[in-house]
């Protein structure tokens, strides 16, 4: 038996005993997901919508947790655009369990994300600001993969019926294209109903505001949505600014959002993340909604690669996509007092006066004055950004789109 025969025999054994038909991705993905949960403390939220982060600052300190994300109204231009374009589909599925009715009203899906509109009625809660996790929505694909929500907007005040818009990113893994199946469930839990005029008070526990649901069961809806495709580009464009080389490696444009793959030199002394926006043709730039979870850099890290989501609507037929990174921003410090003076000076230049409140159990700010015509969302975003160190620079990428 010569070498070639041995080689052939070994290949035959391998092929006969281990078939070609194999897909272990779900098993591997679940293990990675579990590992991520265990390792979460070494990761940091890159950037979410400013208001949501503000809420996190307050309520993670007071023990309520990240579910505070649920209570803020989603200001999402991409979703608004697809809604106006008639791309949102009616679903209208309802289920009532022990007097509580959940209705899945409408839905939209593209290659970047899924948005669902739903309402909950029959929940008996006292009047007040609702914070809490009495529902846990997620999406399960037909093959068992699960998507957790990215952003939610809905009722701020409990009045017996809550309406919500919730979005899910297809960040991982990328779903199959075409029509596929979702399962949507709600689960009971505990909530905090804060008085309408509630502001954080030092050393006051939120326990007295806690309510629990024990009667509500799990709701489940199975439905299908068509998925709009994304345009995918690999521009591989590199721009230098202020000593930092930045490359736009990938650009995925879906109707309701775009995802940028950016790699850049990491300046020292900061957890730097790109402040990116996208515009089509000469339209208004839309700023990023987040960069997800980003590993905190070590002193040895000299370069970083991130995926940046921008909720910008893609106007069909646009000729040019422009990606603008107008600086690198560091994460907000855990103690606001460290950066308070610098932030106040920055905001003064923008015509915003703000009072920072630092307490044993949390941190907060109140906007004392702002320029006429500036809405609270924009003002809070500017306050949030003022709390972050800025590495100045401008990196602009232009991608010609096929006509």
């Amino acid at each position: 038996m010569n070498d070639e025969q041995i080689k052939q025999a070994i290949h035959t054994i391998a092929q006969n005993d281990i078939g070609d038909n194999m897909n272990r991705w779900n098993d591997i993905y679940q293990k990675i997901d579990a590992q991520r949960i265990r390792n979460r403390p070494v990761w940091r939220l890159g950037k979410l919508a400013a208001l949501a982060v503000i809420t996190l600052i307050v309520f993670t300190m007071t023990g309520v947790g990240v579910y505070a994300l649920y209570q803020f109204v989603l200001n999402d231009e991409g979703i608004t655009a697809v809604e106006e374009a008639g791309m949102v589909q009616d679903i209208n599925l309802s289920e009532t369990i022990e007097g509580v009715t959940v209705t899945l009203q409408r839905g939209y899906a593209d290659a970047n994300r899924i948005a669902l509109w739903f309402s909950i009625a029959g929940v008996e809660l006292p009047e007040g600001q609702l914070v809490g996790n009495f529902f846990h929505p997620y999406i399960r694909y037909a093959d068992g993969q699960i998507l957790n929500p990215r952003g939610t907007g809905g009722s701020l005040i409990s009045t017996g019926e809550f309406t919500y818009l919730i979005t899910f990113d297809h960040e991982e893994p990328t779903p199959a294209r075409g029509e596929f199946e979702f399962v949507f469930q709600l689960k009971p839990g505990e909530v905090y109903i804060l008085p309408p005029d509630y502001t954080p008070v030092p050393d006051v526990s939120l326990e007295e505001y806690r309510s629990e649901f024990t009667l509500v069961d799990t709701f489940s809806f199975t439905f299908t949505l068509p998925v709009s495709e994304a345009l995918t580009f690999e521009p591989d464009q590199t721009v230098e600014s202020n000593g930092v080389s930045m490359t736009l490696e990938t650009l995925e444009i879906a109707p309701s959002a775009s995802t940028l793959g950016l790699c850049y030199d990491l300046p020292p002394n900061g957890d730097w993340m790109p402040n990116a926006s996208v515009r089509f043709d000469e339209g208004q730039p839309v700023v990023l909604s987040g960069v997800g979870l980003v590993e905190i850099p070590t002193p040895e890290d000299t370069r970083r690669c991130v995926n940046v989501d921008v909720p910008v609507a893609y106007p069909e037929g646009a000729a040019v996509a422009e990606v603008i990174v107008d600086g690198l921003l560091a994460s907000i410090p855990e103690d606001l007092s460290l950066i308070r003076e610098q932030a106040e000076a920055r905001l003064a230049k923008l015509g915003i006066e703000v009072e920072f409140i630092t307490e044993d159990r949390g941190q907060w700010w109140e906007i004392v004055s702002k320029p006429e015509g500036m809405d609270d969302t924009k003002a809070n975003r500017l306050v949030y950004d003022s709390l972050r160190e800025l590495y100045e620079g401008e990196w602009i990428f232009r991608v010609e789109l096929p006509q």
Binding site: A9, D17, M22, E295, C305, V306, N307
Partner: protein, 182 residues
Amino acid sequence: LDDHHAIRRLKRGDISGLQTLVERYQVKAVRTAYLITHNPVLADDIMQSAFLRVYDSIQQFDLKRPFEPWFMRIVVNIALKAMKAELAVSVDEGSEELFPDFESDPAQMFEAHEMETAVRYALEQLTPPQRAVIVLYYYLGYTEGEISRELERPLGTVRWQIHAAKQKLKYLLYQFETGGSR
């Protein structure tokens, strides 16, 4: 999406890059682990562990290098470690069926799959480290230099190991074919 772009995605934290690599290399990885361990369940575990290792250490991966040899080295090393720590890993009760006991009915098996059966028998007689070398050389098609580099062993040592493993394999095959002592 080629390996290079998939790894770039993964380095950016986009796990769809890993999915691409899993779909491309999972079968080859399980087969490699199986040839070393003779245990399909364990081989599957090893493949999954290897991809978790990739996920954990992708930032250290040099994009100028090819992915497959780096990954297969991880698979082989985990397989060898698993064989050393048999008590710490799952044991497949059905593995005997997949690597059939030659002595149960050698004549019948020899007729049916002469060459394959002979090689199965011979592989079973090798130690796991010897099997690893044979798998790298015959199954993955690595040269002595590549095996040396991927296993991080001196070239002279690898040459000797390949020679010794091949000699033993050929001797065992000769025994099998001639009906020699077993």
